[in-house]
Structure formats: structure tokens, C-alpha cells
């Protein structure tokens, strides 16, 4: 009887030890591996999640002490909501890809740390300088680098070569400046017997984030919309108003672009359906157009006015403050790894994003790809003329002031100069506290 009780007791002790051992085991492993959680949004078509997972797995194979945990976090907007609310409740991701324009917002929330102070070795310092300067404009302020370019894009012009031929235009020559674009568009706009338009000459979408497309007009018109400190805007500059007048005139005066606000999301479809001969959209749509256009198409830089130019766009890597030094070092290692020339090239080819550094275009993979598909190089060639996307303190609020003004002008409820003066007044009101 006693022996049986004793055996039972021993068995209990044994199980308990085993359980506590098992529980302790992952802790031992965890203490060795640094875990880096990583939020990333998906904003274009294609198997992005698979690509990211593959990158993470490859990196872990080379660095067994680091564990990368990629978390798909929805659209850009959903991602920043998730990252910032997670931070406010105490557990932000270590690393996140968020819009480059959210830099000031993230700094003001004291959510992120800069990469400059983290990159200590000369090699790491050199790495910070390896990206296209156009992409760094949205990634630096106050002499520090806060974002590392990753999924970056820019606006380009796509044209339907067949429709050009039908209109008696050279199908291999895109309009090079504003006057040419207007003249081409006049020839490309078709009306039926009743006077209804069956095919528009040109289309610059204006729903959602018209300010970005508008920068494709203001930049060539030789004006920037904000200062580097992100606390002053120039929405009522004469060149800005002139650019808006050109945009508005395309539909209201010359009637070569559809009236009202044009939906961003359906613009590629309008192009595929031959409802429009020239469209402006992101380079991120390149793969989409390549797969879906049933006709020969061309890709060109945006037409010039006083100069050539286009804004950049897309997302950067940000490092969150609430992380351990070990996690920050691990994140640095991962970001350096994923932005290496070879991987930047591969990422660009797979997604349509612009490879973020010049030496990525010298890699064998990229050279081969660009030789077979020349449009891939257009975005790169345009980068030397590119400027930062509109980004200020209270970014989305200031942006909304401009968006509202642009849409009011495009729908004809306000004159361009009035719309821009109103937008500037609102932006001033918002930004004044940031200019101490």
C-alpha cells in the first residue's frame, strides 16, 4: 500500500519536472534568437506575401540567431493604424514598412528611431548613402535618416500605341511636354455622331490622393509644394496655380479628359478598354498593364513644362523605438540584407516597384530584364528629375486640405486660384504651431 502511494508520488514529481523542463526549453532557445516582428502592407497586385515570406526564410537560414516574423498588415493606411495603436498599447512591431510621407507623423508621435545613430560602422554609414537621392528626400529630415527606401514607386505615363496609329500619330513617340500632350490628346479624343465622347485623349486620376498626381504637374512647372522641415507649404505659388489651371483646362476647356473626379482604381481598366489613350499612373501598375493590355503600349516619363519631373511615392522601413538594442541591431542587419543590390533588383522585377539603389540596375538579373522589357528602365531614368512626395507635420490633414481644393477645382465648384488659396490658408493654420 505504502509502496504504491510512493510510486504514485514519484510519478507526480517526475511529470512535474518534465513539464517545467519543457516549458523552460523555448525560453532557452528564445534567449539565443532575437525575434524581429515586421509589419508590411500590400498595395499592388501579385504574390507579395509569398515574396516577403521567402525573403524572411532565406535571411533566417543565413542568420540562425535572428528570427524574422513578417506580419501582413493590410493597406498602407491599415498598417499605420495597426502600428501606432499597437505602440500606444505598448507592443509595437520592431520593424514596419509604412508610407515614406508618414515620417513626420511617426517622429511627432516619438514612435521611431533614426537609422543614422544606429549605423555605427563605416560600412553601415556607406550603406545609408547607397540609395537614390530622390528616394532619400522623403526619408531624411534634420540631418538624420529615418526611413530606408524599400517599396518605392513614381508616376509614369502609359500610352496605347494602336490608338496613336489610328489618330495618325507616331506610335513610338510619347508627348514630351505639356503643349504636345494637349495637342496629342485633342487628336486622340473621339466623339460619336451625337457628340458623346467614345474615347478620351488623356486621363490623370484624381480620387483619393489627387495631390500625388498633381505633383506630376507642379514638379515640371518648377515648384515644390513644401519645405524640407515639413512645416511650410506653397500651395498658392503662381506656378502651382498655373499647373492646376492646365489640369482643369484639359477637361473643362479643351474637353480631352473626362470631367469631374476620375477614379484612381478604374483608370487602368479604362486604359485596357481603350476608353483612354494616355493614362498617368504608378510604376507599380507596370506588371498589371503588361499582363492585361491587349495592345502594344509604351511607357514614358511625364511630359515636361519648365523642366522634367515627377514625385516619388511608396513605403520605407521604419524602426520602432520600443525595441531592445539587440532587436534594433538584428533589424538593421535584416534591412541591410533585403536592400542589397541583388535583392533590390529581384524585388523590383517581381513587383514593378523601382529598385531603390543605382547598383541594383547594374546587376546581371536587372540588366537582362531591362533589355527584354525596356519600360522597366523608364522609372529609373526619371529618378534624376524626381522630387519628394508631399509630406509635412500633420501630414494627412495638410494633404486633405490640398486634396479638397484640387477636387473642388476639378469639379468646377472653385476657380483654381481660389481653391489653392483656400488650401494654403488651411495648411498655414495647421502648420503654424510647428514653426517655433
Amino acid at each position: 500500500m505504502l509502496t504504491r502511494q510512493l510510486t504514485q508520488w514519484m510519478r507526480h514529481v517526475f511529470t512535474a519536472t518534465l513539464i517545467s523542463l519543457c516549458a523552460a526549453l523555448p525560453n532557452v532557445v528564445q534567449a539565443q534568437a532575437t525575434e524581429v516582428s515586421f509589419f508590411y502592407p500590400v498595395a499592388v497586385g501579385g504574390p507579395i506575401t509569398k515574396l516577403i515570406d521567402a525573403f524572411a526564410a532565406d535571411f533566417e537560414k543565413e542568420n540562425p540567431t535572428i528570427k524574422i516574423k513578417p506580419i501582413y498588415s493590410g493597406t498602407y493606411q491599415e498598417s499605420i493604424v495597426k502600428a501606432l495603436t499597437a505602440m500606444k498599447s505598448g507592443e509595437p512591431p520592431v520593424l514596419s514598412v509604412l508610407l515614406s510621407t508618414d515620417m513626420f507623423t511617426l517622429i511627432d508621435e516619438e514612435a521611431i528611431v533614426d537609422w543614422t545613430s544606429l549605423a555605427k560602422t563605416p560600412e553601415e554609414q556607406q550603406w545609408l548613402k547607397s540609395f537614390y537621392p530622390a528616394f532619400m528626400e522623403n526619408s531624411q529630415t534634420g540631418g538624420k535618416t529615418w526611413g530606408i527606401p524599400f517599396q518605392r514607386s513614381t508616376i509614369v505615363m502609359y500610352w496605347n500605341k494602336e490608338l496613336f496609329k489610328e489618330a495618325g500619330l507616331d506610335p513610338n513617340k510619347a508627348p514630351a511636354n505639356w503643349t504636345e500632350m494637349l495637342n496629342y490628346a485633342k487628336k486622340l479624343t473621339r466623339r460619336d455622331a451625337a457628340g458623346n465622347v467614345t474615347q478620351w485623349g488623356v486621363q490623370i486620376p484624381s480620387s483619393g490622393f489627387p495631390y500625388w498626381l498633381f505633383q506630376g504637374l507642379t514638379t515640371p512647372n518648377n515648384v515644390v509644394l513644401m519645405n524640407k522641415e515639413g512645416n511650410k507649404t506653397y500651395f498658392d505659388h503662381p506656378n502651382v496655380i498655373e499647373a492646376l489651371q492646365y489640369w482643369v483646362d484639359l477637361s473643362q476647356k479643351h474637353k480631352v479628359m473626362a470631367p469631374g473626379v476620375i477614379e484612381w482604381g478604374t483608370t487602368p481598366r479604362d486604359f485596357f478598354e481603350r476608353k483612354v489613350a494616355i493614362m498617368w499612373t504608378t510604376t507599380g501598375n507596370l506588371t498589371n498593364v503588361k499582363n492585361n493590355a491587349k495592345f502594344d503600349f509604351g511607357v514614358a516619363m511625364l511630359p515636361a513644362s519648365k523642366r522634367a519631373g515627377s514625385p516619388t511615392g511608396g513605403g520605407n522601413f521604419y524602426l520602432f523605438k520600443k525595441s531592445t538594442p539587440a532587436q534594433q541591431q538584428a533589424a538593421l542587419k535584416f534591412v541591410k540584407w533585403i536592400t542589397s543590390p541583388e535583392r533590390a533588383a529581384q524585388w523590383g522585377i517581381d513587383t514593378g516597384y523601382v529598385a531603390v539603389r543605382p547598383d541594383a540596375f547594374d546587376t546581371l538579373t536587372m540588366r537582362k530584364y531591362a533589355a527584354g522589357f525596356p519600360p522597366a528602365a523608364v522609372a529609373r531614368d526619371q529618378l534624376q528629375y524626381s522630387v519628394a512626395e508631399l509630406s509635412t507635420h500633420e501630414n494627412q490633414r495638410v494633404t486633405k486640405a490640398l486634396n479638397d481644393g484640387l477636387q473642388a477645382a476639378l469639379t468646377g465648384t472653385k476657380k483654381p486660384d481660389q481653391a489653392m488659396k483656400d488650401a494654403q490658408r488651411e495648411a498655414e493654420r495647421i502648420l503654424r504651431p510647428y514653426r517655433k
Binding site: 473626362a258 469631374g260 478598354e273
Partner: protein, 293 residues
């Protein structure tokens, strides 16, 4: 312990789970929202400070707030009566003995089960100028000039209202259908013996008997008029120039795009008051005129 006290404790214990949930997810957030609306937005190291009625003064001077409020009133006036009437007519129709009744019921109810985001993406292409389904009819068949439905200030909100009515009517129809089937057939027989016409029967018997359902549907419709904003995100994002922005959509903008949580709380207080007033009106005024069987 007396028997009475024990009964009380028992009752409270039974109520406790529901009370805790209600307090944690309904009452606490509402009170916290009102409380936060009197503070500034905390940012980084700067904590929130008491600002009194500052947020409310901002609100009064905010033109966008007034515009979304007016938009929302039009949205409510346009969607609530129409979707209720449509729901009622559809319910009467599919309650009758007609061929293909099951199919018809399913067709009416389908919009309700589809997720709003998916639906909005489909409608986005319906409204596309040029080759969208709507334009194929109005331009291709009727020969009307093409129109940018979602991209014009005059039609953006109306276009969204149509989607809402389409989505809501089928849902409300189910309630009316259930209520219609609960009306005892003896009433119809009695009315027939008395020589009442179909119209009289409908006006004097059916509609009064459906009043409790109408009240229920009305409460839901009012809440939905302020709650349904999913399709705005997909179809217009409030544009052009706030022409199709509603109050809740603006609250989202302020809260999660501008990160101005204090002002978002202030706007939410307005929403709370509006919904509270609507509920009071419905329960104090309309309920008295409602006949429960």
C-alpha cells in the same frame, strides 16, 4: 440570510455577466469618449491636458464638420424611408403565392449577405463612366450623355445612397416577411366577410399590425444611416471635396489619419447625442402610437 436577500443576490449574480459586458463595451467607452473630448490630444511625450470646451469651439468653426453633418442628414432622409417602403413592398410580393417565390426571396436577400467592401467594388465598376453597367444603359440604350456619377459633387452622395438602399431593403424585408406570416389568417377571412376591399384590409389591418416591426426596422435604419460607411472608403473616400463624406467617415479620418484623438472624441460625442435623440424620439413618441398584439 433571509430568503428575500438571497433571491436578490441570486438575481444580481445571474445578471452579472451581461452587466459586466455592457459596462465594459458600451458604457465605459461612451463615458471615456465624453471625458477625452475635454482634453487635448496626447502626442509623443506631451501628455493630454485639460482644454475645457476648446474642442467643441473648433467643431463649431469646422466647415467640414457642418458639411458632413448636412450630408448625413440628407443621407438618412434619402435612405431610410425608401429602403423601408421597398422592403415592405418586396415582402408583400414574396409573401403571395407566386411561382419562383423562393428564388425571388433569395434574390432580394442576397445583397444583405454579401460583404459591403466586395459589394462596393462591384458598384464602383457599375458607376464607371463610359463602359460601366449603368452607362451602358443610360448612354447606350437611352442615348443620354455620359456622366461621371461618383466624380461629380451633385451625384456622388446620391450614388452612395442607391447602394445603401439596395443593401438595406433586402435585410428589412426579412423582418416584414416574418411579421406578415405571423398575422393570423382569421383576420383576412373576417375582413372578407365584412366586405373589406384588399386596400382597406392592407391599410386598416396589415399596416397597423406591422407597426412594431416598422418601429424595429426604423431604429435599425436610423442607426445604419450613421453607421454604414464601408462603401465610402472604397467608392469615393468622401470626395469630391467632401461631397460624399458622412459623420462616421470623418471621425475615422480625424482619428486614424490625422491622429487627433481628442477631436475625434468630440465628433463622436455629437454622433452619440444624435443617436440618443433619435432613440428617445422613437421610444417615447412612436412607441405610444404602436399597437402591440
Amino acid at each position: 440570510m433571509t430568503n428575500n436577500a438571497r433571491q436578490h443576490i441570486h438575481a444580481w449574480l445571474l445578471l452579472l455577466p451581461a452587466a459586466v459586458l455592457l459596462a465594459a463595451f458600451t458604457h465605459y467607452p461612451a463615458v471615456a469618449t465624453i471625458w477625452h473630448s475635454f482634453f487635448s490630444t496626447p502626442k509623443g511625450a506631451r501628455a493630454a491636458v485639460w482644454v475645457g470646451l476648446d474642442n467643441y469651439l473648433t467643431l463649431i468653426e469646422d466647415p467640414v464638420f457642418w458639411q458632413v453633418l448636412v450630408n448625413n442628414v440628407w443621407f438618412a432622409l434619402g435612405t431610410i424611408p425608401l429602403s423601408i417602403v421597398l422592403a415592405f413592398v418586396m415582402a408583400l410580393w414574396v409573401n403571395g403565392k407566386i411561382v419562383g417565390r423562393g428564388f425571388l426571396r433569395m434574390a432580394f436577400f442576397t445583397p444583405t449577405v454579401l460583404p459591403m467592401i466586395a459589394v462596393a467594388n462591384i458598384w464602383l465598376f457599375f458607376y464607371t463612366p463610359g463602359y460601366g453597367l449603368l452607362e451602358q444603359f443610360t448612354v447606350g440604350f437611352l442615348g443620354l450623355p455620359s456622366h461621371n456619377w461618383l466624380g461629380s459633387q451633385s451625384t456622388a452622395l446620391i450614388s452612395l445612397m442607391v447602394v445603401t438602399i439596395w443593401k438595406e431593403a433586402g435585410f428589412f424585408m426579412i423582418f416584414y416577411l416574418a411579421a406578415l406570416q405571423a398575422i393570423p389568417p382569421v383576420l383576412a377571412e373576417a375582413a372578407a366577410i365584412e366586405g373589406a376591399s384588399r386596400t382597406q384590409y392592407l391599410l386598416r389591418v396589415v399596416i397597423p399590425l406591422l407597426m412594431p416591426t416598422t418601429l424595429f426596422v426604423l431604429v435599425n435604419a436610423v442607426i445604419n444611416a450613421f453607421r454604414l460607411v464601408d462603401h465610402i472608403v472604397v467608392m469615393t473616400r468622401g470626395g469630391p471635396d467632401n461631397a460624399s463624406a458622412l459623420l462616421l467617415y470623418y471621425i475615422y479620418d480625424v482619428g486614424f489619419k490625422f491622429w487627433d484623438s481628442a477631436y475625434a472624441a468630440t465628433l463622436t460625442v455629437v454622433l452619440l447625442i444624435l443617436l440618443g435623440l433619435a432613440a428617445l424620439f422613437q421610444f417615447l413618441v412612436l412607441e405610444r402610437r404602436t399597437h402591440y398584439q
